[in-house]
Symmetry: C2
Subunit: 334 residues, 2 copies
């Protein structure tokens, strides 16, 4: 699959997004939302579950791994359910199967994928393509589009009044992203060098940023660097995991801007007092003054994704282990 070959233009993406939003608004009896995917795409769903959980007055939302969703055959999936799915290639078998399972049970299905001709796009009722790789617009990446759709749903169904602020924030991504990469370039390089021989690096966050910490742990560290890792929820940290903290145990801790920041701050305070190997990334330094305060919290995870990627690139460089190398994926059937 070549990135440029499949690139869907921004105007088409906007019309797909509008069509999905309209279809959801039209299906007036929807009362539940299931957000389902695998791995990095599942991680994208976790802040969306947080967005619903802190904003929705009537809509219920649950994020589930796609294999878990289909196999457990959740008892409350029917015509009142919206199922939002995501797979980058659109070929992830578990996610395609989840879309089929959801449709068989009468749910409305909306899939996000890089490839609008993929099996997932075929399986779902509505499709929103996103951009990725060389030449993409930072405002048309998958996580930003999912956030915009959900803000639209919350406006249409519950008059949340957030969609314009989210749209405006996302429109700033093409300026914010390169500025943040530049701002973190030196720190990322230093961290990559000093971490190059670490066999294990933990990540930590809560609220809408937990998914980003999870994604970094399972995709960037475990999958792409073969470095052991686990995402620790900042609220859980003091109830077990903190006992493995020592001065030489490395952590990446996120300080976000949502309601759970005090939970993250408490863990960061303990971590920085007991380990010398803590990288703290604070969204207060992301320069979000032009983003509406009411959406800064939920918006910040999009930028943590970008900033953390710079640290992963630097780590890969200093370890001589490109992020594209795999031991099993693309090499065998499993």
């Amino acid at each position: 699959m070549s990135a440029t070959a499949l690139f869907v233009d921004s105007a088409t993406i906007e019309s797909q997004l509008a069509a999905a939003r309209q279809a959801i608004a039209t299906r007036e009896n929807i009362s539940r939302v299931v957000l389902t995917a695998c791995g990095g795409s599942y991680a994208v769903m976790q802040p969306i579950e947080y967005f619903f959980g802190t904003t929705a007055k009537t809509l219920e939302a649950t994020a589930l791994n796609a294999a878990e969703f289909t196999s457990r055959a959740s008892s409350r999936v029917d015509a009142e359910t919206l199922v939002i799915l995501c797979s980058h290639s659109g070929t992830t078998p578990e996610t395609v199967q989840a879309a089929k399972h959801a449709r068989e049970r009468g749910a409305l299905t909306v899939a996000f994928t890089f490839d609008p001709t993929s099996p997932l796009a075929e399986a779902a009722e509505y499709v929103v393509a996103y951009q990725h790789g060389e030449g993409k617009s930072e405002a048309h990446v998958g996580p930003a589009l999912i956030l915009r759709l959900v803000a639209g749903i919350l406006d249409d169904r519950e008059q949340a009044g957030l969609a314009t602020a989210i749209d405006d924030a996302v429109a700033q991504l093409p300026a914010l992203v390169p500025a943040l990469r530049e701002a973190h370039a030196v720190a990322a390089d230093e961290w990559g060098y000093s971490s190059r021989r670490e066999p294990l690096i933990y990540t930590l966050a809560s609220g809408s940023n937990f998914g980003t910490a999870y994604s970094f742990a399972i995709c960037l560290l475990q999958e792409m660097q073969w470095v052991h890792s686990a995402a620790i929820h900042a609220g859980e940290y003091f109830h077990g995991p903190f006992e493995i903290t020592e001065e030489d145990v490395p952590f990446i801790a996120l300080l976000g801007l949502d309601e759970t920041r005090p939970v993250e701050q408490r863990a960061v305070d303990f971590l920085t007092s007991h380990s010398k190997r803590v990288l703290v990334i604070d969204a207060q330094e992301f320069g979000l003054d032009a983003v509406s305060p009411e959406v800064r919290g939920i918006f910040a995870h999009l930028l943590f994704n970008v900033v953390l990627r710079a640290y992963a690139d630097a780590l890969a460089d200093h370890r001589g282990h490109p992020l594209s190398v795999r031991r099993y994926m693309w090499r065998m059937e499993y």
Copy 2:
């Protein structure tokens, strides 16, 4: 706190359980359940979320860490919400705070705790004490009582018809538990010895057993043994984490009896082909013939807890590191 000093008798526990069930049945407008706690008690809530998610036709359920629950101030907590909490000591500040937050918002609160005079017991409207330690009845431990309450809720609200089967299954615990400990004694000792120098051990499960895998990772390994760990969801394994699998990377993989067993089986098949250090614990060998087939899946997690504890005890023994030793807890304020 002395275990025997606070021991609540079985008859009192049964009457507390009945009172909580009755109060929930009486509050007819309840449509949502939040399951909230921290660490090992939060892990107990995860199979309960699965039980609701696969059984409930009308009730919605969400499990959340207690600090996350209170700080995010979920938008849908009100008089239609039942909040079930658990803290062993009843003093966990985040869980006590969660009970207060829930009550302030009009929710019905039910707390499970070892100590019925604790701050959590004071903060919640209904309390169910449970037994623990020397002399306890295996049928009156916290996770078994929570499962019974929820089966009762599902019967009362939705005529699920499962409470009798769950009650009968729980009544078999006093016979099942010692038999399982005995059956696993030799294997646990061998595993404890062969794992004594491992710096990291992963756990893996899905569905109603994920909470048990999570608990073992964060409480037994990280907290009580200072061994690095992470609970990997079996459905997520192939989407990142499997790349850290090598012949010398140790895993404990659970094969349960619920709807997601095929998800666990697929991960176990890959694991056992690519690592020589995989301990597979299969609930098909738990001797549950006398447990009603319709509840075997959700019941099995109670026994995984017991069996895994035998492996933790053996590991602690061979490492010369008692499970009771802490680096921070009980030693400082945090």
